[in-house]
Assembly symmetry: C2
Homo-oligomer: 408 residues x 2
């Protein structure tokens, strides 16, 4: 059960002109479920992506990087669940390559114009034959109004499909942005997340799109963590079709701020949906760190708190065991942190200052906030003006259950 999140209805996921999606049952790991998604792009789209920093990055991630760098116009994306095609060595690269070749042959484009994505179990070989056999059905299903089905087809341990849409009026034109994401465990994206796709019918020149994809990832997928495990397959891709007629080539263009903000808002919604559906999650926690000397140190503190199993189990128990939060701030790695300057709040309740518990704090106030489904831990480091947010969830019996049972 995700925390305060439900998939939007299909008719609230607006089609993006120039972008069609199709799904199919390819039987990659389990039968009777959509596990293959094809996204076909009209000519004239720009595409940019950011990918995992895990050194054991998956074969499809390696191919994505290479095809995006190759300069050929990207015309299709292919996504399979069940098998991650990670830790599969040279055979894995050949399997990803064969998948791209099959998509290319089907759509009459080059293999280098296809971006492949895989998610699922690591170290197992990708059954390319199943994918190739399933592709014609996915092609036959291609429609612009198919985001709802696609968001469901890319799920693995997700309990809910994650998608978001916006329409903004820009320069007298209607610009649509739609996106989807998947992920619930092995979530601590570093430059990108498990799988996130956002498309717009605005036209966005490649250099501008390249900058935006980093900015949007930084404001969204790079701020979330479920278990601190950076996946081998993290990928976040932005697609701009230009079909709305609104086009942008620089940050100074009229209307750009609105489009950028809407794309970032969709990205944040998709990223937070992953945390809300975090494995076993019962609470959505924002760690808001301010007063730092740099964004880097604010994130360091935010992740230390967000990754602490002791803090996460205290949230699960609704126990205002605040000492665990202080301990995590203390071991976050800021060597010259003066703890007497640190202040910590649970929502609006000041809980710690001057190196200890705030004199005004009473346990009832802490218990009231901890009982909520959404909680903000605010930490003021008292040494600068930088700030950063990290989003996470609590740590429950079900996290252990899900991960002890997965694969079996």
């Amino acid at each position: 059960m995700p925390v305060n999140y439900a998939t939007p209805a299909a008719d609230l996921l607006f089609p993006v002109a120039g972008v069609r999606l199709g799904v199919a049952e390819a039987g990659i790991r389990k039968k009777d479920r959509h596990d293959l998604t094809l996204i076909a792009l009209d000519r004239g789209c720009t595409v940019a992506g950011v990918f995992t920093q895990n050194r054991f990055c998956a074969a499809p991630v390696q191919l994505c990087r290479s095809h995006l760098a190759g300069g050929d116009e990207i015309r299709a994306l292919v996504i399979n669940t069940g098998i991650a095609n990670a830790g599969t060595g040279e055979a894995g690269r050949q399997a990803a390559q064969a998948t791209c070749a099959a998509v290319g042959a089907l759509l009459g484009i080059g293999a280098g114009q296809v971006l492949p994505f895989s998610t699922g179990v690591i170290l197992e070989p990708l059954p390319v034959d199943c994918i190739v056999a399933g592709l014609p059905a996915a092609q036959a299903d291609l429609r612009a109004d198919n985001w709802y089905a696609a968001a469901h087809a890319i799920m693995t341990t997700d309990t809910v499909a994650k998608a978001a849409s916006r329409i903004v009026a820009v320069n007298g034109r209607k610009v649509t942005i739609s996106g989807m994401s998947k992920g619930a465990g092995m979530i601590r994206p570093n430059m990108a997340t498990m799988l996130g796709f956002v498309a717009t019918d605005a036209g966005i020149d490649q250099p501008l799109l390249d900058r935006l994809v980093s900015e949007a990832a930084d404001a969204s997928f790079n701020c979330i963590t479920v278990d601190g495990d950076t996946s081998t397959n993290d990928s976040f891709v932005l697609i701009a079709s230009g079909r709305s007629g609104a086009a942008f080539s620089s940050e100074g263009d009229a209307g750009w701020a609105e489009v950028r903000d809407a794309i970032i808002a969709v990205s944040v919604e998709l990223a937070q949906a992953i945390v809300r559906d975090g494995e076993g999650a019962t609470k959505f926690i924002t760690i808001a760190v301010e007063g730092g000397k740099s964004v880097v140190e604010c994130r360091q503190v935010g992740y230390a708190v967000a990754h602490s199993p002791l803090v996460k189990t205290a949230f699960f128990a609704s126990d205002p065991n605040l000492g665990r939060i202080l301990a995590a701030v203390g071991y976050a790695g800021i060597d010259d942190l003066d703890v007497d300057d640190v202040r910590v709040w649970l929502d609006d309740v000041l809980v710690a200052e001057n190196g200890g518990r705030a004199p005004t704090y009473v346990e009832e106030d802490g218990a009231r906030v901890m009982a909520q489904a959404e909680i903000t831990v605010r930490v003021d480091l008292g040494r600068g003006s930088a700030r950063a947010n990290v989003y996470t969830c609590d740590f429950s019996y079900d996290y252990v259950k899900i991960n002890a049972d997965y694969r079996s």
Copy 2:
């Protein structure tokens, strides 16, 4: 239930001449249990300690550092459970100071000759009155053959008392080493662990003891992790009474290697006992990393694997989900790691090489090793000759249960 660990019988914990221990029920947080321990040292002992790197270090840790630096001969240690006296600001320092003053008054020594230690809940005030009232009973109980009772009195969420002893013959004399430790959660020591005390009746000059305490911590308490949470109160103390008549002042002294090795062996046994009794632990895991460019990067990889909730739940499930181990190696932060050179074994079973699953690997072999109570994950980074071990445990329902219930 600890993994393959039981407290030695009382008569196997050998007295260390010059070191007497006494316990008492002070009612600090719970009634009817020993929660106060006093250790009295004869004149002529040398004492050295290493302490937590957590910036929110507890008041007693601050006092220990100051008293050790002060140069007065240390004559007593006082340890309470129930309340950690951490995150307690100036009031906490005064409480620790008052505890030392009370011990000093009782034993006729200065407050600066007393080292205080606290363990338990963070952020709550230390009830100094209970401690002061309990001290005479602890004093009346002082005996050299009291390690068994003391090891029990320093427990918190521990399910078993942790103690170890050795007698070695050196230079024609019998040298005794005894020690005790406590800890089960909030365990990722950085320079020291929750609480560890090792005493010997060898005489060891202060500079030599200062070097040894770091060396012993590095080989023992600094290699263990349960949940990655570095405590606010970690302390490890070495005491040398000299009463055996065997005395050492430099690394070149005859017999020093034997004494050093025995002290390190006791420290390793005590540190591993903490992991074996890790909260909810059902398995004892050694992550042995070799072939690194430096010890630092080997530890980085070891801790990444040891802290991954996904790896730890897979161990709990006895599931050879090896991709999770590879993923953790990949995100450990070695930017130029060539994954094609990495090899991974489960005990003697080669599971990964050349960036993927080893051709010789069959799931039955992995499942056989994963079913054991003790497992070694060996990772060869293939880029140097450095090595390091990290010891950890698995992650079970009971970890969540223990930490969601603690305090309540």
